[in-house]
């Protein structure tokens, strides 16, 4: 009996340690980043490490611009695709799409970034205009990365709508498409919403692929057009950590960017889990 309770305690310590890592991350990020989290940082319009000016606004605007656009594209392709998989696809085709989506979700982001850098950037430069490295390129690459998440979650949500609803709607003389629009989509909406929020979180945290196509101007400005170059929270950290001086204001500012990123992603994940919980309690 003693051995049993000892084992129980050891397993508890393991689980505790696994969650303790997050605690450590928060403490250490705050320790380095909190000194830089000033009002000037949160409202500053210029980010210029050489002049010790650290304002987050251009980077934040660039990030939101890129993330929302990418999610919009992923929704425009992903939700129809989920409807197709759940309601219209023949069995064999469903398997093909599902396994291709399953592999796509894990493809190393560096490979997607490489593809973007060598194919999409020159394509945009030659056919659409600008320098090629642009918000548009980042939209497309990021949309490819979050497409699988949105498809998988939306399809699950559509499938979990009870079969009776479909039969009832079809029996009333509705076409299949009318059933999808008037019955299935409204019922699956909360699940789809959770998928979109999770997609936003993933897009926000994505680093390497975006970094390679978004341009990262030396001194970031507030982007307006989709052919503008921009900076992301993630790409700024990934580029500037290499030449920051340990202990300088620059280093604290970079860790402060990390805190902002962490807070935004955590809020999105919390929202998603609330949406999912609300859905399970409603049923």
């Amino acid at each position: 009996m003693k051995k049993e309770s000892l084992i129980r305690r050891m397993l508890f310590v393991c689980a505790l340690f696994s969650s303790f890592i997050v605690f450590l991350i928060i403490i250490f990020l705050l320790q380095e980043g909190a000194p830089a989290l000033t009002w000037d940082f949160l409202t500053g319009m210029t980010w210029s490490p050489h002049n010790d000016q650290f304002g987050i606004i251009p980077t934040l605007v660039g990030t939101l611009y890129v993330v929302f656009g990418a999610v919009a594209i992923a929704i425009a392709i992903g939700i129809p695709c989920a409807i197709f998989l759940a309601e219209f696809a023949p069995f064999w085709l469903r398997n093909v799409v599902k396994s291709s989506v399953e592999v796509l979700v894990g493809v190393p982001s560096i490979v997607l970034g490489f593809f973007g850098l060598l194919i999409m950037v020159p394509f945009i430069r030659n056919n659409i205009g600008g320098m090629g490295e642009s918000i548009l390129a980042a939209w497309i690459i990021l949309a490819i990365m979050i497409l699988p998440n949105i498809i998988t979650i939306s399809e699950d949500a559509l499938r979990s709508v009870p079969q009776d609803y479909r039969t009832a709607s079809l029996a009333l003389g509705a076409t299949k498409w009318q059933t999808v629009r008037k019955v299935l989509l409204p019922n699956a909406m909360s699940g789809i919403r959770a998928g979109i929020v999770l997609g936003l979180g993933r897009a926000l945290g994505e680093t390497m692929a975006v970094l390679m196509v978004v341009g990262n101007p030396e001194i970031p400005w507030i982007p307006t057009a989709i052919l503008d170059r921009a900076r992301m929270l993630t790409s700024t950290i990934a580029i500037e950590w290499a030449y920051m001086v340990w202990g300088s204001p620059h280093q604290h500012a970079i860790f402060a960017l990390g805190i902002v990123l962490f807070v935004l992603v955590s809020i999105l994940n919390l929202v998603a889990s609330f949406v999912i919980k609300e859905r399970t309690t409603k049923r």
Binding site: C14, G106, G258
Partner: protein, 281 residues
């Protein structure tokens, strides 16, 4: 438009979105294959890089495999133990909920934030330097929540009858777990571990801040040694190299990386199918 025409138009749109989704993956993989295959020869696979854009990628391949294996050796036992606790022992109280919440938070953590943490905590605070150990630990933190999630799910699907039968025979709870529950959930656990390894081998941001420069010309001699990795090598050549030599090496390394990643995914599938057949028999 009458309903029938709308139905037709909708179907066309739905097919189109599905076709776009299917072609992305083959297009990218084929593009890498076509451009990378001519690089695959013995010199490239067994040589070391020199003068930035020449030579082979042997240290990068070995470095990536080392990083992946060491991080799995750290994350798998810890993840499995945590999952067993959460699935079998954890009472439904506040502490359990907090533990779960933190593990979920870790799963959603952006990799660059994990990299920053690794740089500060592992490299500077614990003085592990930029090394195989720092990189592996940071990667282990990244895949830990995924291994916990997959293992817990697998453990929870073991039928209660199995446990009841074992307990009724006089086995203790721990005996039941080691002899009945874990063996029955092994396919799910292994699948989770292999998928975690696939995530780890393709990760760039974390190793960039903790493991090495990516262009190391040597094989790591120990846990303290800086370690090269394929993703970082690709990143450096693709963004800082401007010659065709650099690009063709980035293609070759991408092909090797994709092959390693795909073999891990395929391994996960094979294990799942093999055990499923065995369980049914």
């Amino acid at each position: 438009m009458n309903p029938r025409q709308t139905e037709k138009a909708a179907k066309v749109g739905l097919w189109l979105s599905a076709i776009i989704t299917i072609i992305i993956l083959p297009v990218i993989v084929a593009w890498i294959m076509i451009n990378g295959i001519q690089m695959i020869n013995l010199d490239f696979l067994t040589g070391s890089p020199y003068k930035f854009e020449y030579g082979g990628i042997f240290p990068q391949m070995v470095g990536s495999l080392y990083l992946t294996c060491v991080c799995t050796l750290i994350a798998a036992p810890l993840g499995l133990a945590s999952a067993i606790y959460l699935a079998e022992y954890a009472p439904n109280n506040k502490i359990t909920r907090i533990v779960r919440f933190f593990i979920e938070t870790l799963a959603g953590m952006p990799s660059i934030v994990l990299g920053l943490f690794g740089l500060e905590f592992l490299v500077h605070y614990l003085k592990l330097r930029t090394s195989l150990l720092s990189g592996s630990l940071a990667l282990a933190f990244m895949i830990l929540p995924w291994i916990i999630r997959a293992s817990e799910e697998a453990i929870k699907t073991v039928p209660n009858d199995y446990k009841d039968a074992s307990l009724a025979l006089g086995a203790t709870k721990w005996e039941t777990i080691t002899r009945v529950v874990v063996p029955a959930s092994i396919p799910g656990i292994l699948t989770g571990i292999l998928l975690g390894m696939g995530k780890a081998i393709g990760e760039t941001a974390v190793v960039m801040l903790t493991a090495g420069s990516g262009l190391e010309t040597f094989i790591p001699s120990g846990l303290q040694s800086p370690t090269a990795s394929l993703p970082l090598y690709i990143y450096k050549l693709a963004t800082q190299g401007h010659t065709s030599e650099a690009m063709s090496r980035a293609f070759g390394a991408s092909l090797v990386l994709i092959a390693l990643f795909m073999s891990m995914s395929a391994g996960a599938l094979v294990i799942r199918n093999y055990y499923m057949k065995k369980l049914r028999a």
